[in-house]
């Protein structure tokens, strides 16, 4: 038994971690156990990848299966890391169709959470690019799922958080890119209204995202830096970029947070400093498009190892909601006001626009998504409960990959396809073998 948690380091639960070396062994373990769930690289923040009793690591399923350079079609085992895919294929001129904010996630984890990137408004979620997968069911069967095979199981697996079975391998297409550089423009938005308009206005760009200064109040509420970017063509590179490489490598092991800082170090002052700095730096090169390398653009936090330790022993909470376009302005203003009024700065606040979503438990729906990082302290529960109410009233929902605390009411209100998902679970897993802390908590 080990105490396992998600990337947020809280809550911790006892669970036995097993690491099968191949799919056959994994399937045997899954069918002989009860209270088991798959775990990829543990980057979900909450309790999704912690089994009630046993946690099934996919670390041993780390093989690439096949690649077709003509079509970009790649088949890999589910435990392959996104960073590994990028390391191998970016130098060959290919990039994944959708990437989350860290590259240290597994392909299985990306499917199970149906992750989104900064291009959801254009490209949808990762699941939209998955052509097929094989799934180990709790009864021991391994089924091939795709649009033509088991379409119900296939659809429910995107966003299904491991609860439909364990993904063994999957096929998706990489997209061709000429370089590892992005042409990025930064737009300074004076308030929330401005930021949302800027995001909507940047919808033509492949990638867009807004970093919100959470301390700004009143008139300036929602003051942001909006980034819009596209993959750069080879002809756009200057001497500096060429010297750094057509496909610059990800810097390795730049910095690491070596130990847990005492809770409270991330106080108002340090966050204010961070936000101020970020805002000024962004403003300085605003509007002029600049070429930036792929790694810090997509994965700004990956350069700092174990950065989750800065939140101290008590852990931190990540909160991510999405609200539909029609209610978004009012709901987001309400949420930001509550945060800035409490003087409970969020280390990071990121706003993105989503295009149309898919069904089942997949998180994205057409609207705006706001991600907040909050250190755990007294009062955080009350604040988040208020925010959840705002979200639910606005017809929105919370992201399961980042959740460890929402109420069942919030959850049930947010996911109208939940009854169908529960029914599918009962059909494929009548004995309830697959169970995570998340599924227990939310009655999934």
């Amino acid at each position: 038994m080990t105490a396992l948690s998600g990337w947020g380091r809280w809550p911790r639960h006892e669970s036995e971690l097993v690491v099968p070396r191949n799919a056959r062994r994994l399937t045997e373990l899954q069918t002989s156990a009860r209270g088991i769930v798959a775990r990829g690289n543990g980057r979900a923040y909450g309790d999704a990848a912690v089994g009630e009793r046993i946690t099934l690591s996919t670390q041993g399923l780390d093989r690439f299966r096949s690649f077709d350079p003509e079509t970009g079609r790649l088949t890999v085992e589910a435990g392959v890391l996104l960073s590994d895919v990028i390391d191998v294929f970016l130098p060959q001129g290919f990039f994944p169709p959708v990437v989350p904010g860290t590259k240290f996630v597994t392909i299985g984890g990306m499917i199970a959470a149906d992750v989104h990137g900064k291009n959801h408004h254009r490209s949808g979620a990762f699941g939209d690019h998955v052509e097929r997968l094989s799934l180990a069911l709790p009864d021991g069967r391994v089924v091939e799922c795709g649009r033509g095979h088991e379409p119900g199981l296939f659809a429910a697996t995107f966003g299904g958080m491991g609860l439909t079975g364990t993904i063994l391998d999957a096929t998706f297409r990489l997209m061709p890119v000429e370089t590892g550089w992005l042409r990025r423009r930064v737009i300074v938005a004076d308030d929330l209204e401005d930021a949302m308009d800027a995001l909507a206005g940047a919808a033509g760009a492949t990638y867009s995202v807004a970093w919100i200064d959470c301390l700004a109040k009143g008139e300036a509420l929602g003051r942001s830096l909006v980034q819009a970017a596209d993959h750069a063509g080879e002809h756009e590179l200057g001497e500096r970029e060429r010297a750094a490489g057509l496909f610059p490598a990800a810097p390795r092991g730049r910095l690491a947070v070596p130990f847990e800082l005492p809770t409270g170090v991330i106080n108002r002052a340090s966050v204010a400093a961070f936000n101020e700095l970020y805002f000024r730096k962004g403003a300085a090169d605003a509007e002029t498009p600049r070429l930036v390398p792929w790694d810090p653009f997509f994965f700004p936090l990956d350069g700092i190892g174990h950065w989750n330790r800065i939140y101290g022993r008590r852990g931190f909470l990540q909160h991510q909601c999405v609200v539909p376009t029609r209610t978004a302005r009012a709901a987001l203003a309400d949420i930001l006001e509550r945060i800035s009024a409490r003087g409970r700065p969020s280390f990071l606040a990121v706003l993105k626009q989503f295009g149309p979503g898919r069904r089942s438990l997949s998180f994205p729906l057409e609207g705006f998504t706001l991600a907040l990082d909050l250190p755990v302290d007294e009062g955080v529960d009350a604040l988040l409960a208020e925010i959840d109410t705002v979200v639910a009233r606005a017809g929105g929902r919370l992201y399961l990959a980042k959740d460890s605390r929402q109420s069942r009411d919030t959850f049930e209100a947010g996911y109208p396809d939940l009854p169908a998902f529960r029914e599918l679970r009962r059909a494929i897993d009548p004995d309830g073998r697959i169970a995570s802390r998340l599924s227990g908590r939310l009655g999934l």
């Binding site: 093989r63 690439f64 299966r65 096949s66 690649f67």
Partner: protein, 249 residues
């Protein structure tokens, strides 16, 4: 490329081993064509597909059990080509305590770590001499540098393999055939799964894979991975026997 313009090839004996997989990938990244020999066809197939998908080089599979010495000649004859380099990574740690009283177990450790690897590389040595070129690489272990209470059956077999490679190298030094001995210390692989290993002395399989490739590219005869092990083992070998026998190692 070889002299006649064909792609050079590497045969890994022990194609399911973590070190063998890493070495094969390192060679494939330089454009080498890869052959994997193994007894577990399913894992070998996964490794072969992995290397081919990552690098685009062709990888072929060949069945071989290193206890099956009678089949060795036929195995070599049946290969699609005589490889340019042969790397043998086969090995089994076994259980020292069990080997002390279970002679079958002790014999198996000796055969897997010494008899099989030495005989198969011996066959390739003859073919390489006839051709006039080739590189033979054997993976031994620092455990072969001095017998210790905790693993001397395995250590003795590795020492035997090491002596065999050293003699072969000596004999073939004037021919075009090279012989390289690789001695890992601790490596994080299936063999050491669940053991507590000192981080400074422990290599990842990828490190060993690259060290093997570098040994062939450079002129090394005997390489330790990590390098600190050469010093560590020199010290261990220097301890006088009357003292050494009383140490708990």
């Amino acid at each position: 490329m070889t002299g006649d313009g064909t792609t050079a090839s590497l045969l890994v004996i022990g194609g399911t081993s973590d070190i063998g997989r890493a070495a094969a990938l390192a060679y494939a990244q330089t454009g080498r064509r890869i052959m994997l020999a193994a007894r577990d066809a399913e894992t070998a197939r996964r490794n072969a597909d992995d290397i081919a998908a990552r690098t685009g080089v062709p990888v072929s599979l060949h069945a071989l059990d290193l206890l099956d010495t009678d089949r060795f000649e036929a195995f070599v004859d049946d290969l699609p080509m005589l490889p340019d380099t042969v790397l043998c990574v086969v090995g089994e740690l076994g259980e020292q305590r069990r080997a002390e009283s279970d002679i079958g177990h002790a014999q198996r450790i000796m055969r897997v770590n010494f008899e099989g690897p030495a005989l198969i590389l011996g066959i390739f040595a003859e073919r390489f001499v006839a051709r006039g070129t080739g590189t033979l690489i054997g993976v031994g272990s620092v455990a072969g540098d001095r017998g210790r209470a905790s693993n001397y059956v395995y250590g003795a077999a590795k020492a035997g393999f090491s002596a065999f490679l050293s003699g072969l190298r000596n004999r073939l030094s004037a021919s075009g055939v090279r012989v390289i001995t690789v001695k890992p210390g601790f490596v994080r692989t299936r063999m050491t799964e669940g053991m507590k290993l000192p981080p400074v002395l422990t290599a990842e399989p990828e490190e060993v894979g690259h060290a093997i490739l570098e040994a062939e590219r450079g002129g090394s005869d005997v390489v330790y991975v990590r390098r600190v092990w050469r010093g560590v083992m020199t010290v261990i070998r220097m301890i006088p026997e009357p003292l050494f026998k009383r140490l708990k190692l």
